[in-house]
Symmetry: C2
């Protein structure tokens, strides 16, 4: 998928919603546990119920690795289902990978080729040659951590250098010089609305993936005030707030209700902003 196709989807659906598929067997409806692969059955039901309201799905690999081989199998089935039924949707492996060059190439192949995800999240600490192997893949997005939503995000990401520039700003700025940097997106937590203006000054044209709405306390309007750009430029993620809206038989329709609330709020914001 390329950027124009993503923007087109957002305009058609009036939604920049990403749904996080962070599946915990202790939180899904118990009637699903009788299936051979309850994680996949859960994801399938969520996708079926919400695909017209969202533009992206983001399974976090930790939740699948925690179930070992069977979890890896559920992840594979989920991405295959997405690619087969809804190739128009952006699929994001939230993996936060990063290693020396020849090793990062392995991760990139795993997620972009074998599993055929459209995007993967990466960590910046190891620098250019840990990220560029991901950027080498055409029509794929590499989504790099910049300013994260968790409390510990402030431990290092806002450290100022001798010019007064914070680490996350250095990360954004430096990455613009990397090969194929137009295929970058950046993770910016919804819990940090005060930083969005600064971020938009550095990366006016790139998409930002914004987690932290809902359970983590982030606010959609605050994010959009400075985060939106002429191409929309935002993917706002909600995981727990949508997929665990109910643990009863009606979980999928309740998830749809929550997704629809966010989509309607997004449609309103886009209309107000005249984008």
């Amino acid at each position: 998928m390329n950027k124009q196709q993503l923007i087109e989807q957002i305009r058609i659906k009036k939604s920049f919603l990403c749904i996080g598929l962070d599946v915990d067997l202790e939180k899904i409806p118990t009637h699903l546990l009788k299936h051979e692969d309850p994680v996949f059955e859960f994801n399938k039901a969520i996708i079926d119920a919400t695909h017209d309201l969202a533009v992206a799905y983001k399974p976090n690999t930790a939740f699948y690795e925690a179930y070992g081989l069977s979890g890896w199998n559920s992840l594979t089935r989920t991405i295959n289902y997405l690619n087969e039924k809804h190739p128009e949707l952006l699929s994001i492996a939230d993996a936060k990978r990063g290693d020396i060059g020849n090793t990062s190439t392995r991760y990139a192949k795993a997620f972009f080729e074998d599993m055929n995800f459209d995007a993967v999240t990466v960590a910046p600490y190891m620098g250019s040659d840990s990220v560029e192997p991901f950027l080498a893949f055409d029509n794929k997005f590499t989504i790099m951590l910049a300013l994260t939503s968790n409390q510990g995000g402030l431990d290092f990401q806002v450290l100022k250098d001798q010019m007064g520039t914070m680490l996350y700003e250095n990360v954004l700025q430096t990455s613009l010089n990397w090969q194929n940097s137009d295929q970058l997106m950046f993770v910016v937590g919804a819990t940090r609305p005060e930083y969005f203006q600064k971020i938009r000054n550095i990366v006016p044209d790139h998409f930002l993936l914004v987690p932290g709405i809902g359970a983590q306390g982030g606010d959609l309007k605050g994010v959009c005030n400075y985060g939106l750009n002429k191409d929309i430029g935002l993917l706002v993620n909600s995981s727990r707030g949508i997929i665990y809206a109910s643990a009863e038989n009606n979980f999928a329709s309740k998830a749809r209700d929550k997704a629809q609330e966010l989509q309607e709020e997004m449609a309103f914001i886009l209309e107000q902003a005249n984008i």
Copy 2:
């Protein structure tokens, strides 16, 4: 495994060698490809041939994820084999994981509980609450990236703050205040010998995991000059230099030869240093 047991192993074997199991099907002897699980057969042969010369084995997860479900299966078989045959050896999942708290807990469970690795590598960018879930596991080590061996490691890790302190120094210093910080080890590349003295000033007692010997150009003596502490405090890793010493039928005995060269050099260094 705890630190005393690791130190004891090192003293018995006169070796602080870690062998990286980064298996690439294009580099292993072709006669192994007829097996159902050539990656595991390769690892088993390497472990069988070298276990008395090394104190740790470190599969890098990227090389296994690249083979999808079958790779994850090979990794599981490898760690099971290590735990069953050689429980005295330190097993390290080189995964470089890190995420928000509840998600990092998932990764920690995957590697420490389900697979029963003794140690896992993590990335520091997301700060305290991304690493502490790993540190919550008793008798396990959490090995955090500090100063990496790759060229891109210099992009952000040596950025100076307003006091002149580099990012990797801040990472080391800050992490000492985290819960169970005595279970930390740190990754420091062998290609950065000039930094070891500074690092030892900040973390005099912690173990350092040192990749970059051999293929990446690092030098064992340079590392040991300042890296050794009273408990040895070093695990020096070699991957390609050992496991791909030969691609012929004799690959395992050639790997042993390379491991022995390094072990003998280590024994000499330990003797010289009177440790």
